[in-house]
């Protein structure tokens, strides 16, 4: 998973930063690591930072949806932060509305929303 995605504990949430060149095999490692840490560290939220992503195609969109699905099953809320405007427009054109996720402008917005509960 080296360099592809890092997972950090921030307040009561896990911050996952996805790198621009994430691949299929690395995603499986990431899902594995994330699910274990949600369970171990008993967090309320997962914040997926995609500010490094120049594009989100249906493959990466599906990865984000799956991370959100895993988090929800483990009782954590998922926020996506750092989405570029052009990425949002393109995702919608692809028909991917990411209904399982909540979005926030930045990490601090997401943390504030998590604190409010």
């Amino acid at each position: 998973m080296s360099g592809v995605a890092s997972i950090h504990l921030v307040e009561n949430a896990l911050l996952v930063s996805i790198q621009d060149d994430v691949t299929d095999t690395e995603i499986i490692d990431l899902q594995d690591a994330l699910s274990n840490r949600i369970a171990d560290e008993n967090v309320d939220g997962v914040i997926v930072d995609i500010s490094a992503l120049e594009i989100v195609d249906t493959f990466v969109g599906r990865v984000i949806a799956q991370l959100a699905g895993i988090s929800r099953l483990l009782a954590a809320e998922t926020y996506v932060v750092g989405m570029r405007p052009a990425v949002a427009v393109t995702l919608v054109e692809l028909g991917m509305y990411l209904p399982q996720t909540r979005t926030a402008l930045s990490l601090s917005h997401a943390l504030a929303q998590l604190r409010r509960g």
Partner: protein
Amino acid sequence: MAEPQPDFLHKIIQRIDLRTGKDAVQARQVVARELKARGVSALRVTRFATAVSEIARNVIVHGGGGHFTVGLNAATSYLDVECRDRGRGIPDIEQAMKDGFTTAGGLGRGLGGAKRLSDRFEIETVPGQGTTVRMSAKI
């Protein structure tokens, strides 16, 4: 479907072998770089780079690997991309283009989405022999 575009890939910029996910990433990064260098807006760059990413990933996932070529269509000011494989081909193109159709547990939004995100898009496929997608963005 395949209206021949005489000036397609008139001047070739780069070729990349598509074998792994990293190659698909490189292909769409090259496309984004070339469009940006020509002053294309962030939204248009993102749209076309996303389309190229979908098609390049399909070559790898469904087509068993293949080749990517990017170049210029001098006559008509398009950036042209060709993705070609010698895989199993697509028996029913109309069905495959439909949003939601997938044979591989994917989302099935790649082909239709790539077409919508391109200014020109054509697909040529022969079952058992392979698939070629030619797509362009206005520059």
